[in-house]
Each structure stands twice: as structure tokens, then as C-alpha cells.
Symmetry: D2
Subunit: 289 residues, 4 copies
Amino acid sequence: MSDPGEMALGLERERPGAPVSLPGAGLQGYTVPRTPLGQASLVPPPPWHYVGDFLVVDFHADPEVAASLLPEGLEPHPDAGRCAAVYADWQSCSEHGDELVDPSRSHYREFYIVVNALLDGEAVTTCPFIWVDQDFAMARGWIQGFPKKLGEVWTTRTFGLECRAAPGLRTGSRFGGTCSARGRAISRAKVTLDRVGDGSVHTAPPIVNVRHFPRLAAGRHDEPQIHELVRSRSRDRSVSEIWEGEAELELFDAPGEEHTLLAPVSVERGYRFTFAYTVDDLETVKELG
Amino acid sequence: MSDPGEMALGLERERPGAPVSLPGAGLQGYTVPRTPLGQASLVPPPPWHYVGDFLVVDFHADPEVAASLLPEGLEPHPDAGRCAAVYADWQSCSEHGDELVDPSRSHYREFYIVVNALLDGEAVTTCPFIWVDQDFAMARGWIQGFPKKLGEVWTTRTFGLECRAAPGLRTGSRFGGTCSARGRAISRAKVTLDRVGDGSVHTAPPIVNVRHFPRLAAGRHDEPQIHELVRSRSRDRSVSEIWEGEAELELFDAPGEEHTLLAPVSVERGYRFTFAYTVDDLETVKELG
Amino acid sequence: MSDPGEMALGLERERPGAPVSLPGAGLQGYTVPRTPLGQASLVPPPPWHYVGDFLVVDFHADPEVAASLLPEGLEPHPDAGRCAAVYADWQSCSEHGDELVDPSRSHYREFYIVVNALLDGEAVTTCPFIWVDQDFAMARGWIQGFPKKLGEVWTTRTFGLECRAAPGLRTGSRFGGTCSARGRAISRAKVTLDRVGDGSVHTAPPIVNVRHFPRLAAGRHDEPQIHELVRSRSRDRSVSEIWEGEAELELFDAPGEEHTLLAPVSVERGYRFTFAYTVDDLETVKELG
Amino acid sequence: MSDPGEMALGLERERPGAPVSLPGAGLQGYTVPRTPLGQASLVPPPPWHYVGDFLVVDFHADPEVAASLLPEGLEPHPDAGRCAAVYADWQSCSEHGDELVDPSRSHYREFYIVVNALLDGEAVTTCPFIWVDQDFAMARGWIQGFPKKLGEVWTTRTFGLECRAAPGLRTGSRFGGTCSARGRAISRAKVTLDRVGDGSVHTAPPIVNVRHFPRLAAGRHDEPQIHELVRSRSRDRSVSEIWEGEAELELFDAPGEEHTLLAPVSVERGYRFTFAYTVDDLETVKELG
């Protein structure tokens, strides 16, 4: 152990270090909490590097209801009701990558639904519902316009050995995903692989969301302080071979949730792949009411 | 069971109901996710009614370090280094109160530290560090300027029976509190009651925090979209009899945390009481940076 | 802080201390793990002192199905299908009581169902299903014959203040309870208080369970190593005033669960009270097959 | 969706089905709870198929202390103080494999320590401390003689893409593991890969543990009902290529834990690999005390 001090819990300091700032002016941090060293910020500063295993199911919801979930600024997609359900098992880190060896700060899992739409005539997706199992990922989602709540997400994993306890990436292998929140089932999917293909059609377009932060001042509760249509930007995207197959999808009612508005009226193909990218930008499309 | 339908999981709808809105214009919700019925919002609209059991320890940290944690706009308190550590075991609800019978949406526990300061010469407190165990309470804190992260918080409870398994509110009774986050200990306190008194001195002033929401647009990561000094407003405050006693307090180092900057240099009295109030307003004191 | 050393995380030692034992012969612990000091045991040695807030619903299930859940040695109760659902919000400790100031080792919540039966003609209850949220309570349950699995349990709390955020113990107050396991809803109950009464009829008899521990030796998987009917013994029992009222109860299907076999066919009264007792004994009624 | 009914939450029934048994005689289940269909058992019947990603650190503890942790029947290993720390990220299933598509019932993570010893002159290992994050794995461990408690375990993952957010299996890649229990840090390790090798020396021997189940009958608390030395048996073992490298390991003190008795006095190599096997047998070596 070349540097035992570095390992001592609590003595570790993130790179890069920074001098203690003067009172009143020197607090640092991309998010709260903001502190003299800037190391307590719930979300570290961009860029954020991501990689994840994905289980995706393309489906259609009731067209009218799907349209009712579109934010101002988006129009219904011509293939009315086009949606996808996504389970993602992520690992992420910031520029220095130190979170990777303290994995409680790099792993997280999430489930979300996207609805297809048009933005000024261009095909896009938007995310009305998403649940994630870590606080840093929840806050990082809000910053990008994803309406994240906490939930528990599970997906079948592959392992690098032929064995009874894990499916391989091959015809006939079955993968499952589940999401719950507050102890209530939210969704469940199964995909049985049958071939390598071109990937999910319903998640292909770029994603456009609403960044939103409310006011609490009396009399202004309905005038959010931030309310803007934003378009995700990313770079260094890569994807593995994409397996696909027959899919099943169920959404479950739960108190305080409305995602079953998008209950599948038809379920198309399912997909299993690994995806990586980097995020350090966001485009504001327009300010909303 | 007079209305079995109301109990069916997923058929329950929060009061008041609302018609499905027109596409593109009718999404409702005080926070994200915003939906046709407005029932999926992570945080319901104000007012928010709260009640909680509190364990508080007044202490002093290093004066220079405590001053370094003050946000722009606040000056050090003349009793330099004055702080308090607070464990709160809360139950809360919105106006209709329905969360009270679905208690996974009303219970939460949190631990926080306040530093005493001056705002234009007036004694105030400010909260640099806080951990909470529920997503709705984390988001509700961000809206009020509390820099909340997720954590686990435990405090000794009283019960309405004389017995071996719970302390009574009387001389000699011991109460403990602990907080952890990401599986690392954050703090620990013990209070041994000796008399009824007037309550915590260090938490008495009004609380002033920083509401903060960052930007992700490239080149603007250091220009937060919201960055303002805010002063909490509340009404309908009530408090029980306040017991006090000798206190112990420890803060523990943890990766990605800086709260041990406020390690106690002296520990004063501890307090145990119940407190209730209602919040539906917030005053913006000044825009920062 | 009179003894700072006692507070240092990891230096604390439970009372009573014990000398390090000789290799090979001196491991101590009421349960595993067994160690030189005996302080790592998942469950500390009896006696165990308990206090808890209870929400109970008396109900009837299908008589034939209820009978099918009785272990060998019990006969159906003459009031066929008599059951109760119980939510308990516990605090417990061992003889020295030190867990009370480290409350992550004393709090836990559980939900269980009892079925009424006869043992040699005497009215008894037995517990076929129970979920609890802490490991020490799960193991302590197995030792007493309770078939505990992990779950999440929530119940409405009272607080010592008149306020909007907590029901008082009075006519019209509503209390709720929920249980989930692995992210699936297990049960939900509501009770609306209307008067002080005599308490639950269906939980009144003594409880008789099956202590069970399987074998893993090849060929003997169906010959459990422990399989015996046991009768709970307790002492120093006390109970608060018991409020009662109209009740609702739902049980929800979930994968890998069978508790909905006991779905209510009628729901009787609900009860809210506080109960304390001490356990340090168990009677073996008979060895089973 | 060929069989939509199979997907409906709560209607799913595990294979193989079984008829409802007669009252009093027909309860089924390898563990509790035992039920008419046998599908609620916390642990399904053997065989159990496992696969997991492993991070292992060979180290030496104080020889005398390591010896003091050996159960009756084992003698100290000639390489005194030889131990290993193991982080395992598992997926497991029973014979039908249905848990694999409901992954909350197949994933779990655990951390454990083994001490090397001699059994009648043969080199073996034994596990004095282990933490796991799922109830079914905790109970399955007790059945095999592993002294499991609940904890949270995290390890760095690999993904099937070259990217910034995951280490590859190559020289210079860093892997980390952490364990906590009750919100207190238990251990932390880092391994920096430098070559493919032959694997961990300290975990190579077969494992011998103590199956233990206490009594609660008054006066017999120190006469466990099961207390026997058992030797694990497994089949269909396979292992991936094994990478190794320089390792760091820390054990952290925590209330109610004694694992820091095995604090490293020297840390040897670390290992990263994938391992699969099947368990459906256990050998009782001798009855103890």
C-alpha cells in the first residue's frame, strides 16, 4: 500500500484540490451543498462520462393520451402513440474518474419512458416519467430536464462465463427488468433475444425535455422560476452490438403516479445493448410560459 | 368498507381531481413530473404541514472555518463558531392531508447543521449541510434553499407506555441520534435529559439559505441559473415542552463530504422536543453573484 | 463530554465486556457471527425488551384456505377463517439497553397476519406470513418461529402536539398502514377511530408457530433439521388505552408470495394502541414430522 | 406477448406448480414461510446456480487474533494470520431459472473475510464475517454456515465497451470495493491490475464453517440447537481468466462489529475474475459443543 493515507476514510480528498476560500465569497460546488473545497457538491461538475447496459421495449400507447403528456412546444408524432420503455444499469464518473473506485458514487439504475413527438417538424423524443436509485443521478437528471423521482430498478445481467445463472447474448436468452417506487410496482418487461439488429426505432431521435424549478414565494406558486424546453447534447457516443427479440411490457398503477396513462396498446420489439457517452452541454430551445 | 374502489391500489386519485388537459398546454404539477392530472408531482403544492420530534445539540466549531462556510450576504456571528446539530423525525402532508394515511409519502428523517450568522446586523442561522431519507423531502428542501442529499437518520423514540424499551421524558433519560450517507457515518449525538428549559439558543434565529440551480450550457457551468439568498417564512408554529441535558456530538469524515470542517471545539446543551409548523412562502433577500 | 472515548466510532464496546477467549474454544455469541468478545452477534442474548405502536385489523378469510395454512398440530378455529392483520412500529433492546441510544439497532417495523386455530382444544393464533425491515429482527423472528422475510412497513404516527400533520387519538382520526417487499405492494389498511374499546378479538389468544431450519445435505433436503411447534412466552406485558374504529384492509398479489390466499372475505374492526413486553423463553409444544 | 396472463403481477406462479395440500399436513417450502404451494419460501429448494464478479485481496492479520477467531475443530494455519477479503457481485437462481427474469430475486452483493486454517491437517478456510444485501441470500448463507448479516456492498464493474466510465480488464485498470452495514463503513479495497495470473492463494482451499441455530427456551440460551462444523460442497465450477495486481485494504471499526480484529498487518496481491458454480450439498464434519 504505497500511500496508506490516501485510503483512510475521511482523509481522502478529491482531485483537484483547492485552497480554503475567504469567508462570504469563496464557496464552491456545481450544485449544493457549496463548500470551501467544492468536494461536497451532490453532482460534480461536467463533463459526465456514462456507460450502461440497456433493456428497451418499443411500444405504442393510446395516441390521444400520449399527446396529452407532451410539453408546450412539442407536437404529436405522425406515428401517433409511439413510445419506448427503457431500463438502464449505469456506471458514471466525472472528469478525474475517481468515483469509479468508490462505486457507491458511480453506479445507478433507472427506468424511464419516452414519447415520440415533433419539434418544429423534426422527430424528437421526450421523457415524461423516470425513476432512479441514487440522489446524485436524480439531481443530475433535474439539471438536464429529466423529471426524476427515486425508485428501485433491476435488470438481468450477463457475465463473462457460460453458466446456468446468467443468460448469454444469443438466440433464446431471456432478459427481465422491473421498476418500483415507494414499494409499489411501476413496470415490468421481458425480452427474449432472437437476432442482432439495428436497434430501437422509438428511442432513436434526440431527446427534448423541460427543465423546471418552482417558486415558493406566496402568490407565485404557479410561476416556476425555471420552465424551459431543452435539448440534450452529448459526445463520444458508442454502442455495442444490439440484440433484439420478442418483448412484453406492463405498467402498473400506483398512488401518486400517472405513468399508466401510457399503458401499452401494442408492444413491438425489445432490445439489449451497451451504450456509452459523455455529457457537458445542454441547449435551451425556448422559454415556456 | 364503504368505498372499496378508493382502496384499490392504482385507482386512488388524490383530491382535488382535475380534468385531462389539452395536448401541449395542460400539464400540471408544482414540481416535475408534470402530468395531465398533476398527481405525479414529486412535491405536492404548498402549503406543507409538518410535525417532528427533534434532538438538537448546541455547539461551537472553529470560528474561522465556520465563517468560511457562510454564503455571500451573511457576516460572522459575534459569538464566533456558534452552531447546532439537529436530528428531526418528521411527518408532513399537504393541504388535503391524504399522505397521512399513506405514510411512505409523509414520514421522513433528516440531520442538519446550522451555523449562526448576521444578515444586515440581524442574528440568523444558515444550513450548510443536510441529509434526508426521502426524495420528496429532498426536492422540497432544494426549493427552500436547503442543500439536501440523501442519508439515513435514526433517533431514539418515546412511546406512550412506561417500559424498558423506551426512555420517558424525564431526568436521566438518554436519547441518541445518528446520520450516515452512502454507507459512511456522518454524525452521532447523545443527550441525557436533566430538566425542562427554554430551548436551543443556537437554532432560535430565523434561517437564511441559498437557493441554487446550476446551468449545463457549455461555457456557463459557473453561472448558476438560480443563486439567491432566501429567508424561510412559516406560520402556525407550535412547540412542546422542551427537555434539555448534557450532550455529546461527533462528526465523522467521509469521502465526498466536508461537514467535519465544523467539528465541535466545544459542545453545549442538548434538547428534546416536538415542533410543528406550516410553510407556504419564501422571501428572496437578494440575488447573489 | 465526560468520556469522549466511549463515543468514538468503533471503540465503543457493549456491556458487559468479556476477555478474549483461547483459540478454538472461546467464541461467543447468541447467534452468528460468533466472536471473541461476543459483540458481533446479529441478535444479542435474551431477554429482549420491546415496545411498539400497533395498527390491527380483525378480518375473516376463506375458511378452507385459512385451514390449509395451519401447521401440523393445529386444528381450525370454530369461527372459521378468523384472522388479523397487524402493523407494528417497534423499538427494542437487550438487557443493558445500549441499543436505545444507537437506534439503528433498536427500531424496526413489521407487518404480519395471524390465523386463529385450536391447539388441543385451546384457542391460539399462528403466524403464516410476516415481513420486517431489519436483519436482527428477521433472525430474532426465526428463533421464535416467525417466518420473517424482509419488507418495508409504514404506519401513520401520532405526535405530542395538536397539529395538521398528525392525527390525534380521538374520534374521526384516520391511521394507515402499508407493507411492501421487493418493490411489490403486500398490504394496505386504514382505520378511522370512533371509540375506546376492549381491543382486538382475533389477536387475543396466545401465539403458536413453527421453528424450522432446513438441511442442505444431499438427499435430505426434505428432512428439516429443526421442525417443531413452539408457543411464545413473554412477561412484563403492558398495553395502552385501545382505540378502535371502522377498518379497511387489502392484500395484494406479488411474485413469490402466497399471502393473498388469506384475502379478506369480511373486514371487522380496526385497533390502534401501544404495547410493551419482554421475551426470554419459548416452549416447544411438539416435534413435527 | 404470447401469454399475457403469465405477466400479470400476482398471477404468476413459479414452476413447478403443486396442488393445494390438505389442512394440517400439506405445507411446503424449503425454508419458512411454508405454504400450500411452496412458492413463498424465502429460499427456493436446491440446487442453486451462481455466477459472480469477484474482487479479492489476499492479506495477513495478526496471527494470534486470527487464531482466536477459529471455531472449535480447526487449528491455525502454518502461514499464521493468512486471510483474504472478498467482494462478490452475484446473480443466482434455482433449478427452473425463473428468478433470472425477475432480477430482484437473483442479484445480490456480499463482502466477506476468510481465515486460513487446518482441519485434521488439511488446509481449509473459514468465514468469520460476511455481509450481504438481500434476505434470501442471508438465509441461504445461514443454511450453509455463513454468519451473514445485512450490509451494502459496491464494486467497480466492467462493461462491454471501451469508454471513460468503466475500466477494462488490462494493465493499469483500477477496481474498488466497499462494504457498509447500518450506515457504518466496514471495509474498502482497491486493486490495480498488472497481469493475468493464477489466482488468489488465500481463498484456494475448501471452506469449512459453523452452522448454528440458538435455543430460546429459558435456561438453555447457551445450548444452541444446531452447532456443527460443516464443509461446503459444490459442482460445475468454472472461472474466467484471473487478473491480478497491487492491492490496498482497510477494515473500519463499527459499533456491534468485531471484524477489525483482522486488521491487515500486510496486504498482498489483489484479484479480479468471474466465477460460477452450483450448490446442492453440504457435509457435516462434526457436531460441536
